[in-house]
Amino acid sequence: MARNRRNWCVVAGAATAAFFIGSNVAWAHHEIAAKFDSSKSVDLKGIVTYVDWRNPHAHVFVNVKTGNEVLNWAIELESPTILEMDGWTSSTLRPGDAITVKGPRARDGSRQVWGGDQVRFTETGLQVFPAKLHPSRAAAASRPAPRGPDGHPALSGLTPAAEGYWTDPSKTSMVEDGVDVKSDEWGLLADLTDAGKVAPMQPWALGVYRHRQERQLRDDPMYLKCKPPGGPRQYESRLGIQFVEDRPHQRIFVLMGSGNHNYRIIYMGQDRKTGLVTGDDDNPLYFGRSSGKWDGDTLVVDTIGFNEDFWFTNGGLPHTSQLHLVERFTRPDFDTLRYQVLVDDPGAYTRNWTASWTMNWKSGSVPFYFCQNNRP
């Protein structure tokens, strides 16, 4: 009997999922606020019918008794990649489980709720998916940064067994150093009147930035079109970045867990390369052309040659092809990467400005996440 009920749940849930998935583009990756309205919170209590464990967002379908009828709701969660980083799997929740959910409802009025970290087992009240974009940082005993054979701090693990990557950025949107402006994890400002404080934008750039913010960042080409996270944005994702230092060839690869698992190349002690891989003036790139050098224990990377087809930071700060970045990477101890970027873009800003944050070391390889897995 219980088995029949579970099978029915699966069939009904799959059919509902197929309907939702086939009906519109709402399943594509997006900023949370672009799809869900935090001012319209709903409480749901129901039975899980189906778990759709796929990027860019996992979904749990729930039958909720409403008056005399049972309605199926879709509970949207973070990407499986992020959920798995927190230790959860596709079978953590199963059809037949009783859960409660409290979260913002979809702006379009459809029966969809952002579950975030507010999904709980009804019976025990225990949290199911504690997805956290900013997990609390455990106070780790300070260990010295490892050094490579050249004496400079190693930004990667020095052996395959000691491999690791940088994650948990202390900031996930860019604001000029020294400016206190509140925003959510995706760079959506808490108060739009703060827009002019974020960076010294030219009037047109401020107008574009405000427009993107007013639209809850729903036009973000990284989500809509799988555009790479060029510029500082590659360091704003919890999916992280991994350095691979190729000393014999005097270059450093930066592998990204976000975007399309992209990478960029920093050429050390050389002029900026031209050609297919690193671009030239006729072929501006998402990651530009980078050359690096060591300044004491700091890796300084100079990059030009960006195209204008992407947002170079969460939150939608504009840039132009005149963008010139000077990035400084420092590893003050084993577990900390300090990142500072100077933005020099006279096409969009009235002066140069800097932003900085830190990232934490995590053992292992950078997680796999492919934007191409977006649906539909």
């Binding site: 009037p203 107008g207 992407f310 096409g347 969009a348």
Partner: protein, 133 residues
């Protein structure tokens, strides 16, 4: 008649669908724009504009080719996304013409954003509408 109309529609649709629209997240005016300035007896109804932004000013050209017109000034007011463009051309008789275009950017967030408004010169005026390619 109907077959001819159908064929025209199909050709038009194929042309529109074949046009590449490049993403452009920088200055909203930068890029190539194609559209119409209606009732322009001197330059014809069709117009192509190529605009650039150097960080201080918008520059560009109208109808690049044998009858191109250099844009003398172009401004963008982010308050309402108002566009003002002035350019100098010639009439069919070779007389100097000064064009003034005033419009508004619509669908700002889209690569295929468009400008709608009016144009005028000494010899005429009309509706102006161009879409970014």
């Amino acid at each position: 008649m109907l077959r001819s109309l159908t064929r025209s529609v199909v050709v038009l649709l194929a042309t529109v669908l074949a046009m590449p629209i490049y993403a452009q997240e920088g200055h909203p005016l930068k890029g190539s724009w194609i559209g119409v300035w209606e009732s322009n007896k001197d330059a014809g109804d069709d117009i192509i504009m190529v605009l650039n932004w150097d960080g201080k000013a918008v520059s560009g050209i109208i109808n690049p080719g044998t009858d191109n017109m250099k844009i003398g000034s172009a401004t963008l007011d982010p308050n309402g996304w108002k566009v003002h463009i002035e350019a100098d051309g010639k009439s069919k008789q070779g007389a100097a013409l000064h064009y003034v275009i005033d419009g508004t950017i619509k669908d700002l967030e889209l690569p295929a954003r468009f400008i709608t408004g009016t144009w005028q010169s000494q010899t005429g005026k009309g509706k102006f509408e161009v879409r970014r390619q």
